[in-house]
């Protein structure tokens, strides 16, 4: 199934601790955090695991989103996403998979 961008509105107050807990749960499901906001994280997730993430007690609302390239800050957002993905993806492991 394809990776899709999802926006998650967190339940309750968004604190560093709760955000970290939610992001850890997403990473455990194989997702990547594109950006964190005061409402919740913007993530990239496989469609297959999205329902499992949606069941997390810290998730109040979760919906698929897309990046409108004509948005005011679309370029900037794209750069932020790329920077954050580069910190989370293990490129060495990807190369191993590619060569296998």
């Amino acid at each position: 199934m394809p990776f899709r961008m999802w926006f998650i509105a967190q339940a309750g107050d968004v604190t560093d601790g709760s955000l970290r807990e939610l992001c850890t749960a997403i990473r455990e499901q194989g997702g990547v955090i594109l950006m964190n906001t005061r409402t919740g994280p913007l993530v990239a997730l496989d469609d297959d695991v999205a329902p499992a993430v949606e069941q997390h007690p810290l998730v109040a609302h979760m919906g698929p989103v897309a990046l409108n390239p004509r948005g005011v800050a679309a370029d900037r957002l794209q750069r932020i996403f790329a920077e954050n993905i580069s910190r989370q993806v293990d490129f060495a492991a990807l190369e191993d998979v590619g060569s296998a």
């Binding site: 926006f7 005061r38 698929p64 990046l67 948005g71 800050a73 679309a74």
Partner: protein, 190 residues
Amino acid sequence: MGSDLLAVPFPKMVLSLAQAIAKGQLALDQASLNTLKVLSRTKFDYIPEITEVLTPRPFTAHGVEVTGVDVDAVASPPLSMTLLQAGIVPTFYQFTESVIEVKMSISSKTESHSEFEFGIETEASAGFLFASGSVSSHVNFKTANTYSYSAEGSSLLRTTLRPTPPPSRMMPRFITVNALVQPPTVTFSE
């Protein structure tokens, strides 16, 4: 067989499918609208510009004067903007194709079995003064007919769901009034 095919509740199946699709579409649209609301409320600080001023600052290294430069970076005040303004839009889905497939397997079998038996027995005797004779015959006829009929049916409902661009009526229009120039300019964007 024709009556069996006619008995398939097509109108009811189509109606049920249409109702299910309408219900599903409504739920999907509501979920996308909720995402739209959340995105329109979620703000982040956007720094539109960082000005870097490069000034010469030559310095001496091991007695040799080299060209140096000072970089003075000044960020413009952060601009609070919603994720929707920034360019994150909710994904809307639409049912594009629906198929109802009905498969029927009808079989009928007729078996006929008949047995026919015919026999004649004769008996004759003769004496000095009289003679007698008898003839008997029998006919046996058995017939058996078996008739079996079976009809099996299965139906398959298949729908295709595709992401579509947000409906223009559901997406807000951004009106930007640029008061930096005189007279102020107004631009519209989706």
